[in-house]
């Protein structure tokens, strides 16, 4: 699983592009032309818009078409209609390059992406424009080579300078998050969770645990927005571009407020509800229901009222409703908060069994690390949206202890081992 997370508003890209293109038209009309050469504001503006919003290549094509129409109407060139070909192609390629971050590097501590993007886009657009003009009007090759192409080059250099100068203020005005670290809930996170592993995610409240879990379960993109320029693959499925209905078969999630997840009156109904939604036959539902209640140790309680269950039992029921879907991955957010110690031990031994006996991949967010030592294969600590460490429990605790990252969470036993170990050294 790979995940890089950024915030992206729905129609923001359209608003910004329209505004910048409009400004571009006005500037183009009033700009002086020296010897037939003037800056092509049009290209610089949509190039800026694309860098601010990072739309998909398809959306870039759309921007290019609009820019082409605008240019056709305002251009004083010999063949304005050539813009209808050159701008869409340039818009498409510009968005493609912006997404791949081709030029995302620094010279003397300044990010020069705007300059390179404006230069290359102008070259592409202008190059196509003059070539089309030459072919259609059938101009002499000498004019093409020694007048038109150099003009494109000069315009590109001008565009490069203006693009670089304008990018920073434009970024400020439109308050774009790109490049501002703290604004990401999850920041450039690269993480691999093996099949059949038991992963525990820890970190202070607000460090991004729940966001990570919701993202893995697919809820983050589908329900709450966000997370667009990222890649997240679970079991060979690209979560960012998959319908939730399909994802439900891959990832089951138990939320922090697990009681909010229980909707019916009795234990039996609750399990049947999940199965009915899958469109199973009644006898199959009954069969599957008793299987899953057996798995979580609630067999025989089919007719019990959910309100009469203990906290631990409710949590196990919530797990069961997710288990019936047979998803290979199970995600749980703080499963033992507000559950008594006995219940907490039960929950973790159940999760361990699901992991070892039924080969479920389990991902849990947890503060209380004293219960997990028996089952965990990978412990992850997050801080401020960044992945600080991922490794075995011992390695991770040792990292937390020495680097003082959420060291409060280290269980007393491990802490004493670590301290005694240190003294021996």
């Amino acid at each position: 699983m790979e995940n890089e997370n950024q915030n992206e508003g729905g129609l923001r890209w359209i608003t910004i592009t329209t505004l910048l293109l409009a400004i571009g038209v006005i500037l183009r009309m009033i700009s002086p032309s020296i010897g037939g050469i003037s800056l092509n504001w049009n290209i610089v503006m949509y190039c800026l818009a694309i860098m601010l919003c990072r739309p998909t290549s398809g959306q870039g094509l759309g921007i290019g078409i609009v820019a082409g129409l605008v240019a056709t109407m305002t251009s004083k060139a010999a063949l304005p209609y050539a813009n209808l070909i050159s701008e869409p192609i340039a818009g498409y390629l510009c968005a493609y390059m912006a997404n791949k971050r081709f030029f995302n590097f620094k010279i003397a501590n300044v990010n020069v992406e705007p300059a390179f993007m404006a230069f290359i886009t102008t070259i592409i657009s202008g190059g196509i424009f003059v070539t089309v003009t030459k072919v259609i009007i059938n101009l002499p090759i000498n004019v093409y080579l020694y007048a038109m192409l150099p003009t494109v080059g000069i315009m590109a250099v001008l565009g490069m300078i203006v693009g670089q100068i304008l990018y920073k203020p434009a970024n400020k005005i439109f308050n774009v998050n790109h490049g501002v670290k703290n604004k990401y809930t999850l920041n450039h996170m690269n993480l691999t969770i093996d099949k059949g592993s038991f992963t525990v995610v820890t970190g202070v409240n607000g460090s991004g645990k729940t966001t990570l879990l919701l993202t893995i379960a697919g809820a983050r993109t589908n329900y709450f927005g966000g997370v667009k320029n990222s890649k997240l693959i679970v079991n060979d499925i690209d979560i960012m571009h998959t319908e939730l209905a399909e994802l439900n078969h891959q990832v089951g999630m138990v939320m922090a407020d697990y009681e909010g997840q229980l909707v019916t009156e009795t234990v039996g109904d609750e399990i049947a509800f999940s199965l009915e939604n899958l469109g199973l036959e009644p006898n199959e539902i009954l069969k599957k229901r008793s299987q899953v209640l057996e798995m979580v140790g609630l067999n025989g309680l089919e007719d019990r009222l959910i309100t009469s269950l203990s906290g631990g039992q409710k949590q196990r029921l919530a797990i069961a409703t997710v288990l019936v879907v047979d998803s290979p991955i199970l995600v749980l957010d703080e499963p033992i908060a507000a559950i008594d110690p006995e219940g907490a031990i039960e929950i973790y031994s159940l999760l361990k069994e699901l992991n070892t006996k039924y080969h479920k991949t389990i991902i849990v967010a947890e503060h209380d690390l004293k219960y997990i030592s028996d089952c965990v294969t990978q412990l992850i600590v997050l801080d401020n949206g960044e992945l600080k460490y991922a490794g075995t429990m011992d390695e991770c605790l040792s990292f937390m202890y020495h680097s003082k990252v959420y060291a409060e969470a280290i269980p007393l036993k491990s802490k004493i081992y670590l301290e005694l170990g240190d003294k021996k050294c």
Binding site: V204, N205, G311, A338, D340, E342, G343, H367, E408, L412
Partner: protein, 269 residues
């Protein structure tokens, strides 16, 4: 200071939630109430607060009969912090939230300002007066709920699972606050599942099971008896486990372990 005698409470006069509970709480104590989910812990605190009325039994606060008291009467003496702070915060600013209770009790404007300032100071929330409670983090919300309870200068503070949903950093801050209030003379009733907190901070533990009082004594007495502890759905605190592993006897706090380890090392040297 607070005497509960033969308290009975049931839903619909049938399902017994509390069965003949007798507890005595002295001034300046930290009393922990423990037990499985559904054992009646929260019900007991609500009865003390007057939110629920007993079927039979007798309650006394400083010699006054409070058996039939209603929350408005008790609010002068007892601050109550619910398990989920979201359910008790309603004002649109931190200041108004904390000022609400003193206002209701008819404090003068000067007194209100002074008590709000003191409560916010005590909980480390000074400077957030104009913030919206809903926008605070979980930990700050919990502290705000405590500040609102403190504003009326209660003699008793009831905390219902204050560390639930808090991370370990906020947990430490909350416990330090609780300790501080206690040292200033406040009596604290703490409902919790966390045995480490009980072992480290409580003077007395009350363990309920299915509405019955199953244990009433010091943490040391409770945790020395592993069999009893486990049978009541509890577990030994981490410190006790570690102490046993290192053959240090029963240790209730990490500090005790460090001290004993140190002494032993000295003895070896």
């Amino acid at each position: 200071m607070l005497n509960l005698k033969d308290i009975n409470y049931s839903y619909n006069k049938r399902d017994k939630v509390l069965d003949c509970i007798t507890v005595e709480i002295h001034e300046g104590e930290i009393v922990a109430i423990a037990g499985r989910n559904g054992s009646g812990k929260t019900t007991l605190t609500r009865i003390i607060m007057g939110i629920m009325n007993v079927d039979s039994g007798f309650m006394q606060l400083d010699g006054n009969d409070i058996t039939k008291a209603i929350p408005a009467d008790m609010a002068k003496y007892i601050g109550y912090v619910f398990q989920n702070p979201d359910r008790q915060l309603f004002a649109n600013s931190v200041f108004k939230e904390v000022a609400y209770a003193p206002k209701q009790l008819g404090f003068s404007k000067k007194e209100i300002d002074a008590s709000v300032k003191k409560a916010l100071d005590a909980t480390g929330l000074t400077g957030l007066e104009q913030h919206s409670p809903q926008m605070l983090s979980r930990g700050l919300k919990q502290r705000l709920a405590i500040a609102s309870a403190l504003a009326i200068k209660p003699k008793i503070l009831i905390l219902d699972e204050p560390t639930t949903g808090q991370d370990c950093r906020e947990r430490t801050i909350l416990l330090r606050l609780m300790r501080k209030f206690n040292l200033e003379g406040m009596t604290i009733i703490l409902v919790t599942h966390d045995m480490d907190i009980i072992a480290e901070h409580a003077h007395k533990v009350v363990v309920l099971e299915k509405g019955l009082l199953k244990f009433h004594g010091t943490p040391l007495e409770l945790f020395s008896n592993e069999e009893l502890t486990v049978s009541l759905g509890l577990e030994l605190p981490e410190a006790v486990h570690v102490g046993k592993e290192y053959n240090l006897g029963i240790c209730l706090t990490p500090r005790e372990i460090y001290k004993k380890l140190k002494e032993r090392n000295h003895a070896h040297v």
